[in-house]
């Protein structure tokens, strides 16, 4: 995967670039807004990681220019903590995800994978989701596994829906909190694990092959890799 990273803080920038390269990504680092934009327009990247505050041109305006020129490369915006407007504004400007500093590399990697996958799959809205023998009807909100109907609480349903939409991908706890509960925060304890294990009981307990697995140090994955 080709990643363009635009980050002006040299220590943060080289750290992320180094980690991404070590993880097998092809990463280019730019430390200036204008150069970043030029590189983004010119190069053929799979995902862009852009810091919000940059010298030359700020991160959001890079996204804006890209979108106006018809470029749909997924963009993840990095922002400092406490900039509330950033998230709303960033997503409004055409950014696809946002991450507050500081973050863990596992978190960033998981999000990049999701963005990359989303960009390469078709964007038409499905009415059914299926992972192995687990099915979800988005219209009737019915969940079945091996034709056995499973009753879920509303939150469990949303949780499963998110996992099924990202089947085969690593989904971090922060991503679940953000998309299922709508909050971006850092839980002190295993609060998400409790919800996931409740869901797991319902979809996996009575069946032979477990679908929902824990990915150590990162999060969860539904279905095969």
């Amino acid at each position: 995967m080709k990643v363009l990273l635009v980050e002006d803080d040299p220590s943060v920038g080289s750290f992320i670039a180094g980690e991404l390269s070590a993880a097998g990504y092809d990463c280019l680092l730019q430390d200036d807004g204008e150069q970043g934009l030029a590189a983004a327009l010119e190069g053929n990247f799979d995902v862009l990681v852009v810091d919000r505050m940059l010298p030359g041109r700020d991160g959001l305006s890079i996204v804006q220019v890209l979108r106006e020129s018809g470029d749909t490369t997924p963009v993840l915006v990095l922002s400092a903590l406490g900039d509330v407007e950033d998230r709303v504004e960033g997503l409004h400007c055409g950014a696809d995800d946002y991450l507050t500093k500081p973050f863990s590399m596992a978190e960033l990697q998981a999000r990049l994978e999701v963005l990359h996958r989303r960009a390469s799959t078709s964007s038409d809205a499905p009415t059914r989701l299926q992972v192995a023998d687990l099915e979800m009807d988005l219209l009737t909100q019915e969940v079945r596994r091996q034709q056995v109907s499973i009753t879920l609480q509303p939150r469990e349903y949303k949780l499963l829906e998110y996992l099924m939409r990202h089947a085969g991908q690593v989904v971090t706890r922060a991503m679940l909190l953000e998309h299922v509960w709508g909050y971006h925060f850092d839980p002190q304890t295993n609060v998400i694990d409790v919800h996931v294990s409740r869901l797991r009981q319902k979809i996996d307990r009575d069946f032979d092959t477990p679908l929902l697995t824990t990915v150590r140090g990162a999060g969860y994955r539904l279905g095969a890799d």
């Binding site: 903590l81 406490g82 407007e85 500093k101 002190q188």
Partner: protein
């Protein structure tokens, strides 16, 4: 209110004390002077009365009673010598001559001095006049009394005394008024000073006290304050830089170690993978701690303005409770939410969620099975703000530790090693509350802990 403030001010009290001391000392000096002058005057007076008695004696010896009468009559009628009055009486008490009535009622002083008041015909009017007098028994038993009328002197004395008294009162009143204005002025300047200072502390730590136009002690104070603020910001920056650098510089190698371990793990046989997994977990805990530390330090750096978006507290707390309910149920703890009325605050949705999530998380962690946790909003009126209470009936926090628990990495002895956590949860709570211009207080729930969060 303002008047009371000025009166209570140091400057006013100082000036008032000064004026009173001045008035008292001036009064004392003038009284001494007055005493000295009156003493001199009355000494001269008594001398002249004694002399006059001597003269009477001489006249009586030389010319007898008739000569004496003649002399007294001359003295009384002499236009220039009207100051003495006389009374001559026989040993039996009959009046023999002089211009005083025969039996004046007098007071007697030491050494035979007498004082009395007598009505005198003066320029066609009678008036009470003070006399000082002395009587002497002349050779044959004849009594002579010479009196001096000091009305004029005592009148001018009274005038002088009255003037002085009024001057004192005027000094006192003018001093108080002057003191009031001086104190009011000084206080105004001090108030400006303290307001500006508190604005610097509260809003913009980079601002400094203005030096232009100030003079005297206020300029001196501004100078020292600015120097102090400089030192403080240097220290703060130093600390922040050091902690940021430590967190950041350690994060890089730690992530590398973690990734190496991950690669190593895949090549190991399953029995040994577990040990590596535990090390990886420890690495993740450390990384989470660094991240939390960096978050707190970003929030505390105070460079950001307060958030502007409106957040519905009731909905947010309902979400927190909904998220934590399964955890509470697993632990056998009851988690209740009670929201009275609408509560909309200016803030950051995610940060506020973090704040209350940390509090509820802590409460669940420290409340034993069978306990109750209550999250309440709207209980108790807060001036122009919202009060959120998270109360549990767990072991609580001893009073002596309540301030410390907000410190980074501080953990109660009792929970150290027993409960998971990095000791930054409440520091983050405090940082978020401060970021929202709010406060966090700990109180006893009798038994248990009550955390009171107030948001503007």
């Amino acid at each position: 209110m303002r008047v009371l403030q000025v009166i209570n001010s140091l400057t006013f009290r100082f000036i008032l004390r000064y004026v009173i001391a001045l008035v008292v000392s001036v009064f004392a000096v003038l009284s001494l002077l007055y005493t000295y002058l009156s003493y001199g005057y009355f000494t001269g007076l008594t001398d002249s009365i004694n002399d006059e008695l001597d003269t009477l004696q001489l006249v009586y010896r030389g010319q007898g009673i008739n000569g004496l009468r003649q002399y007294v009559g001359d003295q009384i009628s002499a236009p220039a010598g009207a100051s003495f009055s006389y009374l001559l009486t026989s040993p039996e008490g009959d009046k023999l001559g002089g211009d005083l009535p025969s039996t004046p009622r007098y007071r007697e002083f030491t050494e035979g001095w007498l004082a009395f008041q007598e009505s005198l015909l003066h320029r066609g009017e009678t008036s009470d006049v003070d006399f000082i007098a002395r009587s002497r028994r002349l050779d044959t038993g004849l009594n002579a009394l010479v009196a001096y009328n000091f009305a004029a002197v005592s009148e001018s004395g009274a005038v002088v005394f009255g003037t002085l008294l009024w001057a004192m009162i005027a000094t006192l009143i003018l001093g108080i008024i002057g003191g009031f204005f001086a104190a009011s002025f000084a206080m105004q300047r001090l108030e400006d000073f303290s307001q500006r200072l508190s604005r610097i502390v509260r809003e913009n730590p980079a601002e400094r006290m203005p030096m232009k136009g100030e003079e005297g002690y206020l300029r001196e104070m501004s100078l020292v304050t600015n120097r102090m603020l400089d030192q403080m910001s240097q220290l703060m920056q130093g600390i922040k830089l050091v902690s940021d650098n430590i967190a950041h510089d350690l994060r890089t190698p730690l992530t590398r170690i973690r990734n190496h371990l991950n690669q190593l793990r895949d090549g190991l046989e399953p029995e040994r993978q577990e040990a590596v997994d535990r090390v990886i977990e420890d690495c993740d805990d450390l990384l989470a701690t660094f991240n939390a530390l960096l978050r707190i330090s970003t929030l505390e750096s105070g460079s950001r303005s307060a958030p502007e978006t409106r957040v519905d507290l009731g909905g947010l707390l309902a979400d927190v409770v909904e998220l934590y309910e399964p955890l509470a149920i697993d632990k056998g703890v009851e988690l209740n939410l009670d929201v009275a009325g609408e509560h909309s605050v200016r803030g950051d949705n995610d940060l506020l969620f973090q704040l209350f999530a940390n509090l509820v998380d802590n409460a669940i962690k420290y409340t034993p099975a069978g306990g109750v946790i209550a999250v309440r909003v709207g209980a108790g009126e807060v001036a122009a703000g919202h009060r959120i209470v998270v109360a549990d009936n767990g072991p609580g926090i001893p009073v002596t530790d309540r301030k410390n628990v907000f410190r980074r990495f501080y953990r109660l002895e009792a929970s150290r090693g027993k409960e998971p956590g990095h000791g930054l949860g409440l520091s983050l709570v405090m940082a978020i509350a401060h970021y929202h211009r709010g406060t966090v207080q700990l109180a006893s729930n009798r038994p248990g802990l009550k955390v009171i969060v107030e948001l503007p």
